[in-house]
Symmetry: C2
Subunit: 353 residues, 2 copies
């Protein structure tokens, strides 16, 4: 959030250009932000929530139709629950301020929306730190020998967070304690968030890391070189099923087969009590050209159809533990999960309700 | 094998250029062929055997040092057992003819090597047809409902064979019978043999096929949309362990978890009785840039190390059946496997022995 003379703007790091280029993307309105979200310039569960809240504030401060902005932001990507959550938070603050001020002062309401976005941003930073603490303690209990070799998938670090991230924050904390022997980084096809973003964050942190194709994880498990899998989440259903980047579920099956802990790290805002189970989670299907082309050039014959889901679902039974900012759920049961999630009255409204 | 006025040459389809371009690669000597094999212009277990045999013949006909040529060809790639087998067959024919002719007639010996390469080529074509027959029968037994949805990995069709291939030949036979509902084609990172080559062969055959990232296979299994996995093999140990393209083992674990048949299709020349078990198979480690770069451009931060094994090992316990030209082994036991493999006296010599 920056406020140049021409009016407030949202400044984002364009993640599609990393690691080659660090390019800032300046959004002056919500349609530009929605496009950045759909095109994955901005991505990652916690960051999407923050971006959604700032987007509502941007619409309010610039005097656009706030309800319309909230509606389009909340549905920019269907699976990510944090996005809708962030939008709802800012929208609720906006509406409450509007209702509470005599005659409905839009300027005051816009300030309230911005303040709420800033709160969410700050809370997310704190949540990252708390998840890292809880995750580190869990690793110490599960793997008393130390010297962890951890496998991760997709990208879950500072790029997706107001703080140091979710799963990556746990690996980073282990690294700072001298307990991380190696981070195995799945490249994460089709969009290579592991190769482009996690490797970038790992390199900057100075940790020992090795990149691999998603295919190569199997032989690492077979050789005993994966002590734990740690991933983030895009939505967690009430029964503990986790929607995360496609390729997470095969890792969960491999982890179970090799008796390796499979750990999900996510803030409680990722838990959607309104989604009963994994089968109720809508999975975003993305365009086939992400698979059939590489930097614009075809890699498959023209006309090839692709199956390209953005996420897959890992059932609770395959998850050793879910680490949140409020503590750890293990084993993963609906009641234990609900107990860690504060009830959030405004969060349970429909956006337009 | 072509014989232009300038002397005999080996003409190969450069598989690294597919599907964009159909480029012929002309090898006039063995070093060029070795380079083509290392660079994967020529690849796939059966084809490597054929290429190895023709390579020995090429050296012999052109009057190069045949032993040296055989040695360098046999070791061009360490995991593929067919390559060394093809080289040994042609070399044995060459030596036998040399020993049998008065004064050691090199021209006659060269003709014998070429004839042996042509025999191997023809045998491989017959083996393809036999594997397709046996595989089709196996599918009918395992999946009596028909309408197969088959998942395959890497490339195993006519491009790698004197005939129609191994695993792909089975899918093709099912397609011709009207029993193939869909072929799911794993893209097969890092070199995308699935996207580039299998999709190309599937498109040409007119079968219904869909490309997916290797990551997306998990959710297909979970949804019940994979009825069988059918893959080839680069080496099969005496205990039935299968070395195949990296990413095969995770599919075997997924198949077991979802109770889906996992079928390996390979000629008996892929079975190496000299390799006792999976742990004895040397796994080729390939350069990291195959993972860290895409068409020459870095996708990961500079200096990123990559773990890039070309193959992984699937233990016999995870394999429902091995289909060979001589019949089907199921369950996969060392004795049943040995019973299908003819003892091949020349094949068991060391190349330089």
């Amino acid at each position: 959030w920056e406020e140049p003379p021409e009016g407030p703007v949202l400044v984002l790091l364009d993640q599609t250009r990393l690691p080659g280029e660090e390019v800032e993307l300046v959004c002056t309105d919500v349609p530009a932000l929605v496009e950045a979200i759909r095109g994955l310039a901005v991505r990652g569960a916690p960051l999407l929530g923050i971006a959604g809240a700032y987007g509502v504030a941007l619409a309010a401060v610039r005097g656009y139709d706030v309800d319309e902005a909230a509606e389009s932001l909340a549905h920019a990507r269907p699976t990510a629950v944090n996005l809708a959550y962030g939008v709802r938070r800012a929208l609720a603050a906006y509406r409450a301020a509007l209702a509470g001020s005599a005659g409905g002062d839009p300027e005051r309401a816009a300030s309230a929306a911005l303040a709420e976005a800033r709160s969410l941003h700050a809370e997310d930073k704190e949540a990252s730190a708390a998840m890292a603490r809880h995750g580190l303690q869990l690793l110490a209990e599960l793997l008393p020998g130390g010297g962890y070799q951890i496998l991760t998938h997709c990208n879950t670090g500072a790029l997706v967070s107001g703080g140091e991230g979710t799963a990556f924050a746990v690996a980073l904390a282990a690294h700072r304690q001298g307990q991380l022997r190696r981070l195995w980084v799945d490249e994460t096809r089709p969009l290579l968030q592991g190769a482009r973003l996690t490797a970038y964050e790992a390199a900057r942190s100075g940790m020992a890391y090795t990149l691999l194709t998603d295919n190569a994880a199997g032989s690492l498990f077979a050789a005993g070189n994966v002590h734990a899998v740690i991933i983030g989440a895009d939505r967690i259903a009430a029964d503990g099923s986790v929607a995360n980047k496609v390729g997470s579920y095969p890792l969960a099956v491999l982890a179970r087969y090799h008796n390796v802990p499979f750990i999900v790290v996510a803030p409680t805002t990722t838990v959607d009590q309104g989604t009963a189970d994994g089968s109720s989670i809508e999975i975003e299907q993305r365009p086939g050209h992400e698979v059939t082309e590489s930097t614009g050039n075809p890699v498959a014959p023209l006309g090839t159809q692709a199956y390209n889901p953005a996420f897959d679902i890992t059932p609770a039974a395959l998850i050793t533990a879910i680490v949140t900012e409020n503590g750890v759920v293990s084993p993963v049961t609906p009641d234990a999960l609900a107990a860690l999630c504060p009830s959030r009255a405004p969060g349970h409204d429909q956006v337009m309700g």
